[in-house]
Amino acid sequence: MDEIIVIALSALTSIAILMLTSLGLAVIFGLMRIVNMAHGEFLMIGAFTTTVAVRAAGFPIWLAILCAPLVCALVGVFVELAFIRPLYRRRLIDTLLVTSGLSLILYQIAINVFGTSPPGIGTPGGFVEIGSYTVSHYSLFLPAVTVLITVLLYALFKSTRYGLLARAASDNPDMASVLGVEVRRVNLSTFVLGCALAGLGGGLISPMVAVSPGVGQSYVGQAFMTVVTGGPAFLLGTLSASTLLGGIANIVSQLFTTLWGLTALLVTAIVLVRLLPGGLSANWSRQL
């Protein structure tokens, strides 16, 4: 019984991590149709911001985690204005190429600044004993904070002025603009929000992973699969896909090995996309 509880909690943590590392990508791709190949580097910037804030500046870890989205938002403003804005309404491949280049640059900068294996930070909080097993408080905190972030995002997009205008600008930018929506400003906000979410994801996972320049790249593939599998409802679709893919990957990993877990994730994503080409949420009436 203890083992089942521990496996279930571990699966919940995996689902939370997959959701946290996918949310920024889901917002940017879901609302702007931009494939941000530099998403992993925003995760990495968030993770490094947190570790540097803790180790070099002595910030409490919770404050350090909150710094991560702020730093990524600032980088996001620069990236949107300098690289993304000129590419709106152009081919998907153009944004793909530009963000891939950006990804390489940010990765190399991180190597030059931090080296390939910089010191990390410890997991905050204590542990809880479940039978003969111990589970960290932080791994229980992650699913809770993921639910909170998802609920807040849902409220943001469903109930605020920005959320309505962002969805309208995504649905039909021309019509939104003739109704008075400053589409450029809304797009900037959406891109920055996506970057901030990636940063927050990186910050939140930083105590649980080895933070290195490649940390984002190790999550970005799964994040892409999750967002694509989730379909057009970029929030609830991504949550569903995270639950399914993260749950399966974690359980298979625990029963066999991590390699088999990742293989199961990939196979599940392929089968789902094959059966539901539009993604899990293709036929949902909810579009968030």
Partner: protein, 237 residues
């Protein structure tokens, strides 16, 4: 109200409007007729700011709007109901109505006032825009534009694919809006019945630079005029 002088616009290398001009007086309903491809939709899209002006001048009341963005034009009172309705398919009917209201920070009571005028939309408020019929979408597009109390409304073929009974309703909404708050309307149409029953003045767009004023009452009776300017599409519907 609206003064267009020597307007030039097009797509890429193709120039569609090559010096077009027309003037609308306040509270007037002016119909622009013409065969397919002559540039009617290009004209209204250029006036709405969706196609960049490459020459000429557009003045709305005392404001030169030639180089203004679509949101700036909207703030000055320019409304637009596009061909094909362009409803936000992923938003509900209420959200469709709210977009312009919230973008321009108008009071939310505007929505209730609009729904009093368009009561048939009220039961559909929580339905997605994509779930509405063509006629309902046209009403929503009109309500969405009128909710913002525009001074000038650009209407691009509102009768397209709409059943006659609904056309009467649309006509009545436009007449009421003019009566209630002095709306000026530029109507681009191929349906001569609809255009002649609504417009104070009618022009036949002969090219990208020329629109000839015609007697509104003659539109439905002059077969030569129909054939000459409207071709097969000028057949009454």
């Amino acid at each position: 109200m609206l003064r267009i002088r020597d307007l030039r616009a097009g797509y890429g290398e193709l120039m569609v409007l090559t010096g077009f001009g027309i003037t609308l007086e306040p509270r007037q309903i002016v119909a622009i007729l013409g065969r397919n491809g002559i540039g009617k939709t290009t004209l209204v899209k250029t006036l709405a700011g969706l196609i960049k002006t490459r020459g000429g001048r557009i003045t709305l009341e005392d404001d030169d709007i030639t180089d203004m963005s679509p949101p700036q034009r909207a703030r000055l009172g320019l409304g637009y109901v596009p061909q094909g309705r362009e409803i936000f398919s992923k938003l509900t009917v209420r959200e469709n109505l709210l977009v312009g209201v919230r973008a321009r920070k108008l009071p939310l009571s505007t929505i209730d006032e609009t729904l009093e005028t368009f009561p048939t939309l009220r039961p559909k408020l929580n339905d997605l825009g994509s779930s509405l019929s063509g006629g309902q979408q046209q009403l929503l597009a009109l309500a969405r534009a009128l909710a913002l109390r525009p001074k000038l409304l650009l209407l691009d073929e509102p009768s397209e694919g709409i059943q006659p009974s609904l056309l009467d309703e649309i006509r009545q909404h436009l007449v009421d809006a003019r009566k209630r708050y002095g709306l000026t309307i530029l109507l681009v149409e191929q349906n001569l019945d609809f255009a002649s029953s609504l417009a104070d003045r009618a022009f036949v767009m002969e090219s990208g630079s020329n629109a000839r004023e015609v007697d509104r009452d003659k539109l439905l009776s002059d077969a030569t005029l129909l054939h000459e300017f409207l071709g097969a599409n000028g057949e009454q519907t």
